[in-house]
Structure formats: structure tokens, C-alpha cells
Symmetry: D2
Subunit: 261 residues, 4 copies
């Protein structure tokens, strides 16, 4: 029996959480999902994550949360949030930084699923090499389970695709996040790893990647700092369902999800 | 009768040109395409454009070529290439730079189509404001035709989406290029402009965005300069077909195209 | 008689203002300074400028204030601050942005001094071309006076030096700011323009470019956001005195200033 | 008896090598220099280093060469050049990259001098953390000698100053390179480490940081790729002399050097 994982792209604020509340149960049923994993770096007001929003997402059926560069935005919440065993931040932050970069979850049927979070460096921060960090973490995770999902939170398509090929055959899936735009390049690479450059976002689509259109345009027109609001209309959920062979950890299928809520 | 435009994402080297030679006629027939426009910045060996490769593309049925940051790569060819009335470079390069940023083409039925090329600034070069350049160019083009397609060659999804909304209702379509990964966010915005963050690429998909996987991975692992080759396997064509109302210039439909060749 | 201008590099918070209160009168006397101009973008708590801190600096003898990328930090103060006729922000911000990019001041002896503020683009924001903005502004200012000082607030040494040579012979001085480190390359270029890549900073030198050493190091070690304090010890004033021929506007001498306070 | 080291900033092409041929002997005599170290990343035609140019510099009296981001420019020469025991590249390139990041040289009097090369990350490449690499390398070098000079090849003043303070008391000197502009901030930090943000450059000063003024200006005006030439006029040598206590490795004095040749 394949293990079916639904991975949900960056959840943006309250509209993003509403999307899950309206559609998650239905999606889990329809796709016979064994485990739901979501990127939560924008779940609290569009910037960062709080223990309250994380609990809300877990209560809605999310099994584990990955994150990215915005996880540090709600500064006083960071230690509490990252103390959770079901929330991870990119593994390639330097030594000494709070939180964990990977976790092992279990499906209701008792199948172990390793989840690894990495952050890209191109156009972003000066972190440890995501390729080498992946080598290390995957070796450790594979001692527990062959089923491993990687959330690669990155900007540049070249870096994402390179990591996909680099890990091909060693993990079940490499799914990108961070650009908030779903890509149409889902496929299974030649050695059996499911790949997709970006899972997209979950929140208001009457927006510029989840935040206010007018503010975003004003920022480009003035080059001045702008305070962003999270719009509420045209709510959609973006993600991807991956079928994984339980014994080998190879991907059997990958299907893009984009539903109006 | 709607005007149907097929826009093809960045053509990468010889495999990209082969993709057109194998599939373009079929696509034109199947979708009743009135005009084919393609991004040609990588058509010559993966970097830049030459008069020979441009002629090859025109002979295959391409009506006009847009470009982007790589158009300057074949330096001695630039003046000749940009002298063509059917090849444009981003309009927001500074005054004095060779070439034109927009062009007006005509379908076999005599319908005028304005094509505007812009380049993003985020993570790229220090060009003129693409939003204000668009204002100026569109005003000029609309005196000739309400049918205007914009190729926004840019990296950041926020900049692309912002320009889409900014031009909504004023042009027929804003289609992104440059990331070489097709996005799944095609839609018609509220005022009638077709939008898609990236048309994707046309060339070898046994690659990292069109160039060699091994070299790309090596570059990330070493941070050293690497010489890239264009791979040949798994050739695909990425693009988008837009149906436009001839009288108003509003988009009637937008459909993603991704075919194996 | 030459006109003597003292230009003071980025004033950082209270220690920076104290530096002026302790040393400015002495410097004005010693160098027979006719006019004091200072960069005030960090004068309020290290980030931005307020009407109160501007008034404090004017009362201490500063004749006019230039600024840079940090002028927008105290958001609610921006409209008030930039309404002053003696405070400018970089001239190459886009049309529609509050404030003015140049000003004409007068020495006690009635000599008019044009001051132009520009911001670099390399590693910074996507502003208008500083070279072309300079052309336009200088043409306007020269109708009033041949004595023109340019504060080029920029990061990259190549961009600074290029602007210096580009304006050589057309302005009295091109003095850089923004890096907060004084450079030792002061000289008079071949056509008579005084040039120096950076005037340095005025504030605590028991610091990393004016802000807390420990926080700065922590930021590099963790790649996490850090809240910065302005240290208080080892206060110094950095700047430059330029002697300018009143009739021609050519620089006669340039002297670096770095004094402990 | 203090050990006296002359460190010379980035040598740019033939004019840079001429500067040494004309002035190095005189400087060594005048300052009683025990060892000459120079940054050679631009010594061959402005871009990279060759075995021939390295030999020329060693014959002129240079004891060891550091480098930086441009050391990879003469690609076919890299393996030969980096095989030398007297040439280093930044130590924080990833594992597997050719060459060594530190070296131990000896003065004619037999005193061992450790030299460590690091490259900054801000606005540059995605390398290993220079702070942590420094920790590791310095621990190793200190087992041989307390006299350690660090060439920190970096762009951002904040990163340079942070590393200076971070290593204060553990090395004899932290001297910056890469901006090609000498800074006026030389000093001995509180725990005994000599510090200066940038040693400057050695080559033609009728230039923009060592390369052609007209080409540099054209690049900023057009945003197009430009081919650079190395100008020949107004040759100067920039560097710094550091006096170091032989027993403790603490800096006793630091003096900026800028001579016309
Ligand atoms: Fe996000
Ligand atoms: Fe993100
Ligand atoms: Fe491209
Ligand atoms: Fe491109
Ligand atoms: Fe500043
Ligand atoms: Fe600044
Ligand atoms: Fe250099
Ligand atoms: Fe360099």
C-alpha cells in the first residue's frame, strides 16, 4: 500500500487557515491522505508563526509544519514554537540556532515519515550549504525510514532543480516553497524522487503572493518601506499529493492540488 | 472572432529549436493559432541569439521574438540581431542602448498585435522602472491596437504579480519569462488581462533549467565558475495560448501548453 | 577667497550628536569653515531622522542635512522632516516620493552653495540612474551657483568612483557616504572636482560601523534578525574640509578630518 | 624585536607589478620590513593570477600571496597557481575546492608568520561561515606561531569590522581587501589586533578601482556587459605596515602606506 502525503504550500495568515478549515477534511478523504504536512512560515498574520496558529493548524489535521526565512518574524514566539516536536525550521541554519531541521512523524497506520526542511541561499541568506546538510540529515533519517519528504524553501529555480537531481533516488520527494506561486513542473525524476519547484501558497489570491496588491505595487513604484496587510478575498489552497512506496520510499505518483475555498 | 496567440517560453539552444521544428505546426493547427511569439534570449547555444538562429525560428513559423538579460551574450551579434523589426529587447534598458523594446506585428488576417518586453529589477540589473516604462509604451501601442502582449522577463514572483495587477485591463496579457519553470497560476485577472508568472522553457528537461545538471550541481557545491553545456535529452516545449477579443483587446481564455517533443 | 565647506559623515544617534556638540565649534574656527553640511540619515537612534534631532543639529551649527536609505526609518516623521528646506533625500528616488533631492544654501558671507544628494544602486535599491539624475540636477543648480557639493550615498566603490569621474569638472566635490568607514583616497580629480569615496561616520567607534559589536557579530553567526543598540564609547567625528574657488566652483584643496571627541 | 610585515593591497595587472618593481625595495628598507605579503587576485591582466605573474612578484621580494574571488578567473592556471606553498585562496571555500586557505611563512630571521585568507559573504558568494572557519584555522596556526595575519577579502564594512572584533586578541592583524579603496580606519583594537577595513589597491589610479574609467562609466550608464582594460597612468602602491611583538603576536603599531610610483 502506498503512503499518501499531502503537502500544503505556504499558509498565509487567517485566510490561509480558513482554507484548511474549509477544504482539508474533504481533500484528505478524496485523496486517501495518510499525512498532511504544511509550510507554516506565514501562518500568523502573514509573517511568522505563533503557538496559537500552530495549534489551530494541528487541530485542523495538519501533522507537521515546515517553515523558512519568515519563521523568525514573531520573535518572542520563536523559542516556544520551535520547541514543538512537530515544527521544524530549515536544517542549514548555523550551529547554535534554536529548533530542529528535521523530524520523524508517523501516519495513523504507524508508518514513519521523515521530513527535512532546507533553505536556499541564492538571493537569500548566508546559510550552510543545503546540499551537504541534506547529505548529513538524510543519512540519519534513512536509519529510521526510507520515506523522506524535503521542503526546500528557496527562491532560484536553478538551486531548487539542482537539489532535486542531487537527491534523486535518496528521498521520496523534494518539494519547493517560498515563491508562493505554484509551478507546473511536477514529475518523478529518473531515480524515483518526486519533484516540484514550488507547491504554491494557501490564502487570498486577490493579492500579490498573499499580501495586498496596492501596497505591493506602491513598494515597487516608490522603493520605500511599506506596511503589508493580508487580503481576504479569493481564498485558495495550493499543494501536492505524493504517493510513496512504503517499502522503498520511492515516489509512485505526484499530483498538483489547487482548489478554491 | 478571437485572436489566438501562442507564446513560447525561453527557447534553449538547439534542443529548443528542435522542439519547435517537431511540434510548432501541430500546435498552430490544433489551437488555431494566429500568431506565434517566443522568447529567444537563450536560443543560440543557451546564451544569446544570433541572426542565424533567429532566421531558423522565423522560418519555423515564429512571428516575433522577445528576449531578456541574456540577449547581450553574443556580443558581436547584438547590433545585427536587434536591427530586426521582429526582435525586441526589454524596453526599460536605459536610453541609448541598441534595439527596440516593443513592436507591432500583424496576423495573417491583418490584425495588429503589440508586443512589449520588460525586464524585472529584483535580483537582476539596475534598469528603468518597468511599471513606468509600461505606462509609456502601452499608451503608444494602444494608439495602434488594443491587443497587447507583455513578456515580463523577471525573477521575483512579487514583481511579476505586481506588474500583472498594475496593467490589468490595459493589456491583453502579462506573461512572465526568465525562471525557465512553468507556473500553474494562469488566469484572467478581474479587468480582463491574462496573467501567468512564467511560461516555462523549451529545450532539454534532462537538465537544470535547460543547462547541464552535473555542472549546475558542481557550481552550487564549489561556488566556482562553471562552463555550461546544453543537454539534449527529454525535449519539451512550454508556452501558453491566449485568446483575445479583437475589438477590446481583453483576454477571453488562457491555456498552459507543455508538450513532449 | 575660497569657500570652505565642512562635510560630516553619517551622524549615528546620540553619540554622534554629542560629537558635534563637543567639537564642531572648534573645527569651524580652526578650519575657517563657511558652511557645515552633514549626513543625518542615522541621527535619530541610529535609524532615521526626526524634527527634534534635526533641530538639535541645526542649533549646533549644521547648515544643511543630506541623507540616504535610512531616512525612511522613522516613518511618521518623514513628511515633517522632508518638508524642511535644509534637509534633502537622494534625488534619484522615483517621481512622487516626498522631499527634495537638492537644495541651495548660503554662507554667512552670502555665497550660494548647491547641495545634491544621490543614492547608489549597486547592492541597494532600484532607483533612477544616479548619473542621469546628476546631469539634470547639476544643470539646474549651476544656473544658481558654480559651487556644488554632491553626497553620493552608496555601497560599491566602483559606482562611487565612476560618478566622481563622470562629474569631474562639473561640480566642486563628490563625497561618498553610507559605508560608515572613512576612506583614505581623498584627492582632486583632473578637472577640478574634489573626490573621496566615503566621509566616514560620526558616533561611537567602540562598535561595528556605529552599532553594537556583539549584536553585529551575533547576526553574522546566526543569520537571524537582531535588534541593534547604539553604543556610547570612543566617540569620534569623521568628515572632510573642501576649499572651493568662489568664482569657478573648482576645488582647491581637500582634507580628511577624523577627531576624537 | 618586533616583526614588521608589509601587506600590499590588490595588485592590478602590469601597472601593479611595476609599482612593486619601482618601490618595493625602498619600502622594505625604509620600514625595516621582515616580510612582504600581497593580495594577488588581480595581478594577471586585472583578473586572476598566473604562475608567471606570481613568479615575477616573488622575484621582486614578495614572500607570499593571498587572493579572493578573482583567483578563479584564469581557469587553466588555477591548479598550477594554487599548488604553490606560497599562494593561498580564501579558506572558507567549500570542501573539495583546490588550494589551501592558510600558510606559514618564515622571515629571513626564522620567525614563523601564519597567513590566513578569508572571503566575505555579504554581496558575494555562498561560502562557509568566515567566522567559524577563522576559529578553526587560527587554532591550528597558533600551534605553530602566535604571529598571524588575516586577509579578509570582503565587500561590506559591517562584515569586515565584525570579524576584526571577533578575532581581536587572537590574531596579530585583520586587514581587509577587495574594495580596492584604502580606508583610513587603521587602528589597534582593544585586545591587541591591528585592524584596517581595506588595504587599497596597487596599480593605475587614473581608473575606477584599477580598471578603465570610460568602460566603468559606460557599464553603469547602459547596464550592459563591458570588456575592461587596465589603464597605465598614475601608478600607486597601497598597503600597510604592521609591527608585531614576536613573543605574544600582539600588534604594536599599524601604519598606512600609499606611495606614488
Ligand atoms: Fe512564504
Ligand atoms: Fe519564505
Ligand atoms: Fe532565459
Ligand atoms: Fe533570463
Ligand atoms: Fe548611514
Ligand atoms: Fe545608508
Ligand atoms: Fe581585487
Ligand atoms: Fe576581489
Amino acid at each position: 500500500m502506498p503512503v499518501k502525503i499531502l503537502f500544503i504550500g505556504d499558509i498565509i495568515g487567517k485566510p490561509g487557515r480558513q482554507a484548511l478549515s474549509r477544504q482539508l477534511d474533504r481533500l484528505v478523504d478524496r485523496y486517501c491522505v495518510d499525512m498532511v504536512i504544511a509550510n507554516g512560515e506565514n501562518a500568523a498574520g502573514g509573517f511568522g508563526l505563533t503557538t496559537d496558529t500552530a495549534k489551530e493548524l494541528f487541530d485542523l489535521g495538519v501533522g507537521g509544519l515546515t517553515s523558512g526565512n519568515h519563521i523568525w518574524d514573531k520573535k518572542e514566539q520563536v523559542p516556544l514554537v520551535l520547541a514543538s516536536q512537530r515544527i521544524i525550521r530549515p536544517a542549514n541554519y548555523p550551529e547554535g540556532v534554536a529548533g530542529q531541521g528535521s523530524m520523524i512523524l508517523a501516519t495513523p497506520g504507524g508508518v514513519k515519515v521523515g521530513v527535512l526542511n532546507l533553505e536556499g541561499r541564492v538571493f537569500m541568506k548566508y546559510l550552510e550549504c543545503p546540499f551537504r546538510t541534506a547529505d548529513r540529515e538524510i543519512e540519519r533519517l534513512r536509519q529510521e525510514t526510507p520515506i523522506i519528504l524535503v521542503d526546500f524553501h528557496a527562491e532560484a529555480t536553478s538551486e531548487k532543480a539542482s537539489l532535486g537531481w542531487y537527491l534523486d533516488g535518496r528521498v521520496s520527494a523534494v518539494i519547493g516553497t517560498h515563491t508562493h506561486v505554484q509551478t507546473a513542473d511536477e514529475r518523478i525524476l529518473t531515480q524515483g524522487t518526486a519533484y516540484m519547484s514550488d507547491a504554491g501558497m494557501t490564502g487570498s489570491f486577490d493579492s500579490v503572493i498573499g499580501i495586498g496588491k496596492d501596497e505591493a505595487i506602491r513598494k515597487f513604484l516608490t522603493q520605500l518601506p511599506v506596511k503589508f496587510e493580508v487580503p481576504k478575498k479569493d481564498i485558495r489552497l495550493n499543494g501536492v499529493v505524493i504517493d510513496i512506496d512504503e517499502a522503498t520510499g520511492k515516489a509512485l505518483a505526484i499530483e498538483r492540488i489547487a482548489v478554491c475555498c
